[in-house]
């Protein structure tokens, strides 16, 4: 008998931690991980609503999010590698050639 709202709040907590991690972390890979964390939070929301509405489409959505996350991971990590090659750093604070 757990209220759906609790699941949602749990998801919100994770989502917010994800945002916070994006803001605080300096390592590009960790920042990327925090995005994954946010996506997971959204997934939890989907599943909770899916449960609430008795509809599988929410779950299918999660399934697609996983696929997309995987694809993004592939591309994102490739980008990170490319960046590392040209800059020799993973610290986002040093990735600010372009500004203003």
């Amino acid at each position: 008998m757990v209220p759906i709202a609790y699941y949602l709040i749990l998801a919100a907590i994770l989502f917010s931690i994800g945002i916070a991690a994006f803001l605080i972390k300096r390592n590009v890979i960790t920042i990327f991980m925090s995005i994954e964390l946010m996506l997971n939070a959204v997934n939890l929301t989907f599943v909770a609503f899916s449960h609430m509405w008795h509809q599988v489409s929410g779950q299918i959505f999660v399934f697609f999010v996983m696929v997309v996350a995987a694809a993004e991971a592939a591309v994102g990590l490739a980008i990170i590698i490319a960046l590392f090659r040209s800059r020799q750093t993973l610290n986002v604070d040093q990735v600010n050639l372009m500004r203003n």
């Binding site: 945002i19 803001l23 300096r26 920042i31 986002v92 990735v95 600010n96 050639l97 500004r99």
Partner: protein, 679 residues
């Protein structure tokens, strides 16, 4: 007589101007002067014919011609229209007659000048505008002539444009005249407002019944007249105008143009008669100017300047006459003045010519024998202006003084007293000029003159046309061009002098008042024009209680007193004048500096105006506010822009921070935002 010939009167000189102005440079000098003379003589002939016609029995009081409209908008129309009545006729006679004589004189006087063709083109242009002025049948057309003669005056004063003083004087003349025109324009606007027309006939026909601000209109017109006729406070340009060649001074700045103001006031007498205040102002201005200019004239050394101040002073007389509603007296004096002042200037020109350009009276003297014709003609002029009977000005000046005395003007007696005092001063300074120039010892260096070098005037050293024209700054340069000893002028120059001298003597006889047994034909002649005045004094009403003879005696006495004073100071004991000047040093200095009027104008009006323009308008408002508003807007936009730039730190984390903040804001707004349409 075909009235369309009226068009020709001004247009012929204009044709002369066009011919000489465009191709004159390529023509030989005789051709230039022939053209100019021809196109000046022809109008004179026409005017003579007109005169004969108008004098003949049964002739209309006025003839007029009207052209197609010049300005035509709904509700307001101005045509080119000329009209000739007796007033115009006198003016036409003066302008064409004196004008022609001066043209003749110039042909010789300017013979050596490089800008010969230009000079005659300008002179013809002046004739055109002056004739338009006097022929005009509407205020606007009169204004055309008014401005036009100002233009011609500007061009002729600045004829020796390479000389800064000449260019300055021309500019000053034009601008000061423009101040007068400012008043004239405003007066015209008021006339349109209240009469719906600028035609003399229309306006004057409605004046008796109309309720218009006549005082305002008249005062504005007076401002215009004061500018043109060199009255206080706008007289300052006329003395400077002597920078122009002497014939110009004679024609424009003595005989014709400067009298336009008097002509205009006389022409508008219907308006002035409705406003006693304006008349009073006119009279006061006239009297004050007459006195002021006469006092200054006493201490001038430049022969032309003496004459210039005398012109201002005489114009003051005419103004005063207008101010006491003695318009025909004013016009009478205008006419005689045209004769004798033109004569004086031309004779002065002859003197200058004789001395190869020298104008300073202090280095003249004893010329009586050397240039006898000039001397005798000049003498006629001097006696005329001094008011010695029976010379012309005696009658006209006397008429003015008499009219002032008997007028119902509250200041009548004072005006008369000022007039008499001025008459004394006039006589004094004119005889001073006469004595200093023609009598006494020779004060010039004849050898130097013979070699073309003046001990006094450094500006006569370079001969025109022989050196770089741009560096040649000549004063009446035609004179310096042929350095030789003191000599009498050619007969071409002397002939006009003689003719004018004759007129200076007999010119006043047409207006001998009844008191002296005359018929005052002049006044009768003008009667149709000034018919609103009370009926003329007829012999039946004549009585010996009339003060005219006594007044005349007083003014003759004043003139003789002036002669005597000048005789004592400048002939009998020439040193006494300078002693007197030393004794009364402050007064002398005040007079010789012309009451510091130019300086006061400079310091009070022009200087502050320029400073205000430069610093307040140019600096504070234009650079500060107008430009500053733009740049302030620009820089504030840039400031905001740099804020936006600072948002863009280049750091991904800060970008995410903005995103998060923005997201929070959007969510917040969506949930709790203002929803005007939503409960």
């Amino acid at each position: 007589m075909n009235p369309n010939l009226l068009w020709l009167i001004p247009l012929l000189p204009f044709a002369g101007f066009l011919i000489n102005g465009t191709i004159g440079r390529k023509l030989p000098r005789p051709a230039v002067s022939a053209i100019a003379l021809l196109f000046t003589a022809a109008p004179a002939v026409l005017v003579a014919q007109l005169w004969l016609y108008m004098k003949s029995a049964g002739a209309p009081d006025a003839i007029s011609v009207v052209s197609r409209p010049w300005i035509a908008i709904t509700g307001f129309q101005v045509n080119f229209s000329f009209a000739v009545d007796h007033l115009t006729l006198i003016m036409l006679g003066v302008v064409t007659g004196v004008g022609f004589l001066i043209h003749v004189y110039s042909a010789s006087y300017m013979a050596e000048d490089e800008g010969y063709w230009r000079f005659f083109a300008y002179l013809n242009l002046f004739m055109f505008f002056m004739l338009v002025l006097v022929l005009a049948e509407s205020f606007l057309l009169l204004f055309v002539g008014w401005e036009g003669v100002g233009l011609a005056s500007y061009l002729l004063i600045g004829f020796y444009f390479t000389k800064d003083s000449a260019a300055n004087a021309g500019k000053k003349a034009f601008i000061v005249n423009r101040i007068g025109d400012f008043g004239f324009l405003l007066a015209m606007f008021l006339l349109i407002q209240h009469f719906g027309s600028l035609s003399f006939s229309t306006v004057f026909a409605h004046v008796p019944t109309a309720a218009a601000p006549f005082t305002a209109i008249c005062l504005l017109l007076v401002l215009g007249a004061a500018g043109k006729s060199a009255q206080i406070p706008l007289y300052v340009w006329l003395p400077d105008a002597m920078e122009g060649p002497t014939p110009v001074s004679a024609l424009i700045h003595a005989a014709t143009m400067v009298t336009a103001g008097i002509y205009m006031v006389a022409r508008c007498h219907v308006l002035f008669d409705r406003s006693p205040t304006a008349l009073l102002v006119v009279a006061c201005i006239g009297a004050a100017t007459a006195l002021l200019a006469a006092t200054i004239g006493m201490v001038q050394h430049d022969i032309k300047r003496v004459l210039a101040y005398s012109t201002v002073s005489q114009l003051g007389y005419m103004f005063m006459a207008c101010g006491v509603a003695a318009y025909s007296a004013a016009i009478f004096h205008l006419m005689t003045h045209a004769f004798f002042k033109a004569l004086l200037f031309l004779a002065a020109g002859s003197v200058i010519h004789a001395l190869s350009g020298e104008q300073d009276m202090r280095v003249m003297g004893g010329l009586r024998k050397r240039i006898p014709v000039t001397f005798w003609t000049m003498t006629a002029g001097v006696f005329a202006i001094a008011g010695i009977p029976p010379f012309a000005a005696f009658f006209s000046k006397d008429e003015i003084l008499y009219q002032a005395f008997i007028s119902n003007n509250p200041l009548a007696k004072l005006l008369w007293a000022v007039g008499v005092l001025t008459a004394f001063l006039t006589s004094f300074y004119m005889f001073r000029l006469w004595f200093k120039t023609f009598f006494g010892a020779r004060r010039f260096d004849e050898d130097a003159l013979a070699h073309g070098q003046s001990t006094h005037a450094p500006h006569t050293d370079a001969a025109q046309g022989t050196s770089d024209p741009s560096t040649t700054a000549e004063h009446d340069s035609g004179q310096a061009a042929h350095p030789h000893g003191v000599h009498e002028s050619s007969w071409i120059m002397l002939l006009p002098l003689v003719i004018l001298a004759v007129f200076s003597i007999i010119g006043g006889w047409v207006g001998i008042p009844l008191a002296f047994g005359g018929h005052n034909e002049f006044e009768h002649f003008l009667h149709p024009v000034f018919s609103t005045l009370p009926e003329l004094v007829t012999p039946e009403h004549f009585s010996f209680r009339d003060p005219e003879p006594i007044l005349a005696l007083i003014s003759i006495a004043a003139a003789l007193l002036g002669l005597l004073a000048a005789y004592v100071l400048y002939f009998r004991s020439p040193g006494r004048a300078s002693d007197l000047a030393l004794k009364a040093r402050p007064v002398y200095s005040l007079l010789s500096h012309k009451y510091w009027v130019d300086e006061i104008y400079g310091a009070v009006l022009i200087g502050p105006l320029l400073a205000f323009s430069r610093f307040v308008l140019g600096g504070l408002i234009d650079a500060g506010l107008v430009q500053g508003a733009g740049s302030a807007a620009g820089s504030s936009a840039r400031g905001l822009g740099s804020l936006v730039r600072r948002m863009q730190s280049g750091n991904i984390r800060s970008y995410a921070g903005w995103l998060a903040l923005g997201a929070a804001a959007v969510i917040l707004f969506t949930l709790f935002g203002l929803h005007p349409f939503h409960p």
